[in-house]
Symmetry: D2
Subunit: 398 residues, 4 copies
Amino acid sequence: MNLNGFYQVDYSKSDFPEVKIGTLGYGFMGQIHSNAFIKIPFSFSNPISRPVLLAICGRNQKKVEHIARRFGYKEYCLDWQLLAKDPRIDIFDNCAPDDWHYLPSILAMEKGKHVICEKPLSLKLDEAFQMAKKAQEVGVKTMCCYNYRFLPAVQLARQLIEQGTLGIIYQFRAKYLQQAGHNPFELVEKVWYAHGTQSGTLMGIGSHIIDMAYFLVGEITAVCGLKKTYNQIRKDSLGKDHPISADECTIAILEFKNGAVGTIESSGVSTGRKNYQGWEINGSKGSIFFDLEDLNHLQVYSTDINSPEIQGFSNVLVTDAEHPLQIKYLPSGHNQGWEYGHVHALHHFLDCVVNDKPVGPLGASFQDGYRVQVVIEAINQSSAKGKRVEIKDVGEDI
Amino acid sequence: MNLNGFYQVDYSKSDFPEVKIGTLGYGFMGQIHSNAFIKIPFSFSNPISRPVLLAICGRNQKKVEHIARRFGYKEYCLDWQLLAKDPRIDIFDNCAPDDWHYLPSILAMEKGKHVICEKPLSLKLDEAFQMAKKAQEVGVKTMCCYNYRFLPAVQLARQLIEQGTLGIIYQFRAKYLQQAGHNPFELVEKVWYAHGTQSGTLMGIGSHIIDMAYFLVGEITAVCGLKKTYNQIRKDSLGKDHPISADECTIAILEFKNGAVGTIESSGVSTGRKNYQGWEINGSKGSIFFDLEDLNHLQVYSTDINSPEIQGFSNVLVTDAEHPLQIKYLPSGHNQGWEYGHVHALHHFLDCVVNDKPVGPLGASFQDGYRVQVVIEAINQSSAKGKRVEIKDVGEDI
Amino acid sequence: MNLNGFYQVDYSKSDFPEVKIGTLGYGFMGQIHSNAFIKIPFSFSNPISRPVLLAICGRNQKKVEHIARRFGYKEYCLDWQLLAKDPRIDIFDNCAPDDWHYLPSILAMEKGKHVICEKPLSLKLDEAFQMAKKAQEVGVKTMCCYNYRFLPAVQLARQLIEQGTLGIIYQFRAKYLQQAGHNPFELVEKVWYAHGTQSGTLMGIGSHIIDMAYFLVGEITAVCGLKKTYNQIRKDSLGKDHPISADECTIAILEFKNGAVGTIESSGVSTGRKNYQGWEINGSKGSIFFDLEDLNHLQVYSTDINSPEIQGFSNVLVTDAEHPLQIKYLPSGHNQGWEYGHVHALHHFLDCVVNDKPVGPLGASFQDGYRVQVVIEAINQSSAKGKRVEIKDVGEDI
Amino acid sequence: MNLNGFYQVDYSKSDFPEVKIGTLGYGFMGQIHSNAFIKIPFSFSNPISRPVLLAICGRNQKKVEHIARRFGYKEYCLDWQLLAKDPRIDIFDNCAPDDWHYLPSILAMEKGKHVICEKPLSLKLDEAFQMAKKAQEVGVKTMCCYNYRFLPAVQLARQLIEQGTLGIIYQFRAKYLQQAGHNPFELVEKVWYAHGTQSGTLMGIGSHIIDMAYFLVGEITAVCGLKKTYNQIRKDSLGKDHPISADECTIAILEFKNGAVGTIESSGVSTGRKNYQGWEINGSKGSIFFDLEDLNHLQVYSTDINSPEIQGFSNVLVTDAEHPLQIKYLPSGHNQGWEYGHVHALHHFLDCVVNDKPVGPLGASFQDGYRVQVVIEAINQSSAKGKRVEIKDVGEDI
C-alpha cells in the first residue's frame, strides 16, 4: 500500500512462515534465546521462518514483564503449565533453571509441542532418561541446547574430521575452565556451581565438552574420573557457613569406540580463565585446536600440503564464504560474537521443525542430551569407586 | 490485561521512549545499523529508548521491500527526499553509498532531524565541510559513524590513556589491511576500493584509523604520505579493461600536537589480512596494542606493577564488569561480535538525542568527520608533492 | 708474558678451578652436555669452574673420535669401565642410551665420582632404586638430568609458587606431545619410542612432566592411568613387521599431597606438535602456563594487581635482569635457546661439586630421579588394573 | 696414541683446517662472536674449519685478560694496530665500538686480512664509503655483520620470496623497537642510543631493518623520513644535564625499485618492547611476518593451498630438517637461541674464506654495509628538509 510514497511492509507474505515461540525463563538463557530468535529472520540468506515471540513465563511478575517488554514479547505469564499447554505455541523453549527442565519439558511434549531444553537435560539421570524416552514416544522435535556445536569453528572442525583431513583420530583433550570460585573467600551466592542446586562444574560446564567429545570424536565407551571440592565451606552474604559438596573440578580420562582416548576437565576455580573452553584433537594426518575465548578462529595443522617447510598450525579465521554457518550481513573478517552459537542452533531447530528434518547429527536431540548425562553418571561412579567404569554399565539404553 | 493467565505486554509505558528511525540504504551498513537498533532495548541495563524502525529507503523496490520485511520495518520508500523530509522521523540514518552522503544528510539536517551518517563523511572535502558547517548552524545532533570507537577494547584504551596509565604518548602506529584486491587478476567488481567511485583504501578504511588517531592520541598537525596503485588495470566480468586510479595502499607519517609521532597504513592488497585493523601506542609508562580480528582483547603493558618479574603484555579479555561498554546479557568471558561497535555507537547517539548530550568526545560528530577528511586531503597533497604538509594549510577551519 | 705486545693468557690462575669431565655417550645427549660444559666459563658473571673435557667414551671408534675432535676432548676411549674408573675424572657424565644408565653409573659412584645421569634414571624400577640407594651410601653428588627445571621460565614459575603469587595450588595439567609416530606407515627405526628398547612415551618424555609436577607442585600420592598403543605393528626399512608394545600415548590423573589434582599426558603421535611440553597451573590467586616451543616466555595471571581492568595473562619474556638464570652475554630481549636448560643444569651441578652444596631442591638428585620412576610404575599398574593406585603401594622407600 | 685404553685426539688432521681469529673488542659483541666461533666446529654436520681464537684486543688490560681467559683465547693485546697487523691472523673481527670500526678495519684490509666488522659499518658516511672501496681494491673477504640475515626464519623468508611463494611483493613494514629510554628520568648512561657517540636508534637498530629490507625485498630508491627526540635533556649519574640530539625514534617510508613500498621504524622508547624486531611482507600470493622475540617461528600465509577453508597464517616452527640453517645437535622442536644468528653468520664467512666464495648475497659485504649507510643519510636529509629524497642523490656509487 502506497501512502504518499511510503509503502507498508506486508508481513503476511508466505516466504517467512511464522513459528510461535513460548519461552520459559527470563534469565541469562531466556534472554540469549530471545535475542537469537529475533536475529534469525535477517541473519541468513534464506531465512526459514520468522519466529514470533508469543509469550514468556517466569515467577516474578515485575521482572518477567520487564524482560518481555525489552525483547518484544506479546504476552507473558507466571505459570509454566499454562505456557506448556498453550495451543497457540509451536515451540516450547525451556530456559528455566536446571531443576525445572524435567516437568515443563515433559508436559510440553505431551501437548505435542516441539521442545528446546537448555543443557544439562536434567540434574537427575532418571529424569533425563524419561525426557529422552518421551521425546521418542511422542515424536516431536527436541533439542538439548548444546550451543557450542553451532559455532562456525566447531562445525569446521567436524567437517575436517568427516572429510578425513585429520586421518585416524588418536586423541581428544578438552578443558572447560572458569574462575567463579577461585577465591576461597568468595561468597557462596557468587559461585554458580556451588549455589542453589549445587550442580557442580561437571554438570554445568563439563557437560558441554562431553557433548563436544561425542560431536567431534564419537561414542564414549569407558571413563575414569576424579571429582574434587577444594573449598568445602563457603560463607553466604549473611556470614553463615555453607557446606559445599559440588565438585569444583572434575577430571576424566575417556576411551572412545573408535580407539581414540582423551581427557576432559571442568573447573570453576581456574584463576584467569574467564570462559576458557579449549580442546585439541590429534589425528594421524592433522590436528586442530580451539579456544572459546577466541571463538572465530580454529587452529589447523594438516600434513596434506605441498610445501612441508611452511607447515604449522594455521590460524584460520572462520569468517569466509567457504566456512560453515556464515551470517549474511557479516563479510569476511567481521567476527561473530558468542551469541551466534545460539542463533545458529535455534535456526537449525526451526529448520527441523518447519521442514521436518532430524535434529541430529548436527543438533543434539534429547537422546544426545541423555547420553551426556550417562557419561556424567559414569564419571561420578568412577570417582567414588576409584576405578574405570564402562558406559554400557550405566543408565538404560535408549 | 490478563487473558486466561496471560498478560499482554504494555508497550505504552514511558520508560522506553520511542525514537523513530528512517534508514537510507539497505546494503551492508543499512543492515548492520538496523540490527543494532533492534538490539538496543534489550542489550543494556538501562536502555535509553526503544528505536522504532519506521521506514527504510532504497532505489530497488524488490530489494528494499525484502530487507524491510526481514528487519521488521513498518514502511519503505524509494525516494530519499521523501525520507529525509518525513516529519515523523526523529533520526535520519544515512547508510547510503559514499557519494550519497552529502545531499540527503544536508536535507535531513535542514528539516531538523538528527543525522547519523556512515563514514567517510563525503568523498569530497568541500561537501564534508558543508555538512559539518550545516550541523553547527542547525544545531541538531550529528554523528559520523566511526564505529570502532565503540568497541570495549578501544574505550578501555582511551580510558588508560586519559588516566595516565601509558604516561606521555610517544608513538602511534596503525594499519588497516584487507585483501580484496591482492590478486592482480581479480575482477574489478570484486574489488570494492577500485570499483564504482574508486574511493580507494585511504578513504575506505584508512579513514577509520585516522579517526582512531584523533580519538586516542589527539590532534594531528602534519603528515607525509605516499599513495600507491600496484594494479593499474583490472578487467571486469565482461573482459573489459578498466584503468584504476584508486590507491591500493597508502602510507603516511603523522605528527601530533602533543609531540607524538606515528604512521598509518591502509591496504587492500595484503594477502591473508581479512580485516586487520591493528594499532599500537607506546607511552613513557606503558603500551597497548589491538587487532580487530581479535576484538575482545586489548594487550596492555604497564610499568605500574609491584612485581617487575611478571611484567609483560597482558592479554586482557575486555568482557568483565570492570570494562567499558558491557552488554547486559553477556557475562564475563562471553565475547561480543564485530556488530557491537555499531550497537554501542547507535546507543550512544540515542542517549545524546533523548537526553540532549553532546555526541563528542566519545562519538564522532560531523566536525570530527570533517577533520578526518582534511587529513586525507593533506596526505593526498603530500603524496603528490613529495613533501611534508601541515594540516593547518589544508581545508577550512570549523 | 708479553711477546711483542701480546700477552699469553695464564690459565693457571685459581679463579677458574678446573673440574675434569668424563662423558659416556657421543649421541644427542653427549653432544648437548659437551656443548653445555664448553659454554659455562663464559656464560656466567661468576663462573664457578672451568670444566675440562678430559675424555669421551663410545663403542664406535670412528664416530667417537670424530665427536671428540669436534668438541675438543683431549682423549677418548671405547670401554665404559675404563672411563668410570679413571682416577683423573671428577665428574662422570652418563649420556649413554637408557639401558646403559645403570651399570656405568653404579661403577662410577663406587669409584667415588660425582655422577650426572641422563633421564630416565633407568628403564627398570629396581635399577633406579639401586642407583638412588648407592648415591645415598656413597655420598657423592648425583644429578638425574631433568634439564627443563633449569629453564628461566620454569625457575620463575617455581619462584612465583614459592612466594605465594599463585596462592593455594588447585590444578596442574601437563602435556608432552611429539609427532615421531603419527603416521601409521612410519618405519619403526624413525619412531624413537617404539624402536630398540621400546621405552615408550611415558618413559621417554612423560618422565619430564612427572618431574615437573614434583618440582612445581610437590609430592604425588595417587594416580589413575591409561596407556595406549594405536599402531601395534610397524614395518622396518627392510619391510619386516615389528610388533609394538610401547605406549604411544599415556594419560594419567594425578593427586598431590597438598590437595592439588592434575593430569599428565605424553604422546608420540600428536601431528604438528614438534616438541610441545605445555603445562598450566591454577592457584587461588593466580595462574601460569608454559609452552616449550616458546621457551623464553611464561604466561602469568596474577590477581594481585591494582587495576583489575588490565588483568590478563601477561606474556612475560624471561630475559631481564630480574629473571632467574640469566646469561651474562645476553641482554634483555635476547632469547636463550633450548640448550640452555643443560647449560644451567650442568652449571648448577658444578656449583654443587665445587662448593659442596646439595643438588636439590633445584636440581634432581638420583633420589628425585627414582621418585619419577615410581610414579611411572604406578601409572603402568593403574592402566593394567583399571583402577586408582596409591604411590605408597609402589616401589621401596628411600 | 693409546694410553691404557685412552686415545689422544689428534687435532692435526686436515679435515678441520684451522683459521686464526683476532678479535678487536671484548664487550657484548666481542663475547657473542667468540661464543659463535667456539660453537662452529660442533654445530654443523660438515664443519668447514676450526676457528682458533688466537688473540683478543682491548684497552683495559684487566678486563681484556679476564675475557680472554673465559673464552679460551691464547693471547691478548692492548693495541689495535698490533692486532690488525699481526701476520699470524687470518680473520680480523672488528667488534669495537662503532667509532672504532673505520681505522682498524682499513688497516687490517691493507694488511691483507679478511675482515668482519660489526654493524653499522661506520657512523660517518664517508668512512663507510672508504671501507667499502678499500674492500673492493684489496680483494679480501669482508662482512658487515648483519646477523639477523642468518636466522633460520629469515632465510626461510628469503627462500619463499625467491621461489615466488609470495608472488609480487607489494609491501614491507618493519619495526625495531626497544625500551632503554622510555622513562624520561632514566640516566643517560643507561640509554645506549643517547650515550657516548649518541648514535641514535636509526643507526643502532634501524640499520638492521634497512639491511633486512634490502635482503628480503631489494633495492631502495627513495625515502621520506622523520626523526624524533622526545627527551632532549637527560641527567647523568652525577646529576648533570646532558643535551640529547640522538633520535629516539625514526620513521621512514621506503620505495623499492621493484614497485613495493614500505615503512621502517626504530625506537628506543617503546615501553614493553624488549627487543622487538617485527616485520611483515605482503605479496600478491602470500604474506609472512616475523617477531624477533619469538625467533624460531615464521608466520606464513600462502594462497597456494588445496583447501581454502583451512587457510590462515601458519605458525611455522623453523626447526625441521626441511628448514635452512639447522644445527646438527638440535632435533625438530628444539629451539635455537638468539646467538645462532652470529653462529651462522660467522660460519658462512669461514666458508667464504676457506672455499673462496662470495660473501653475498647471503651475507652482507662491506658494499652492502655501505648501502645501508646511504639510506640512513637519505632519511636524515629527508627529515631535515621535510621532503622525499631519492637514494641516487645521496652518497657516492660503488
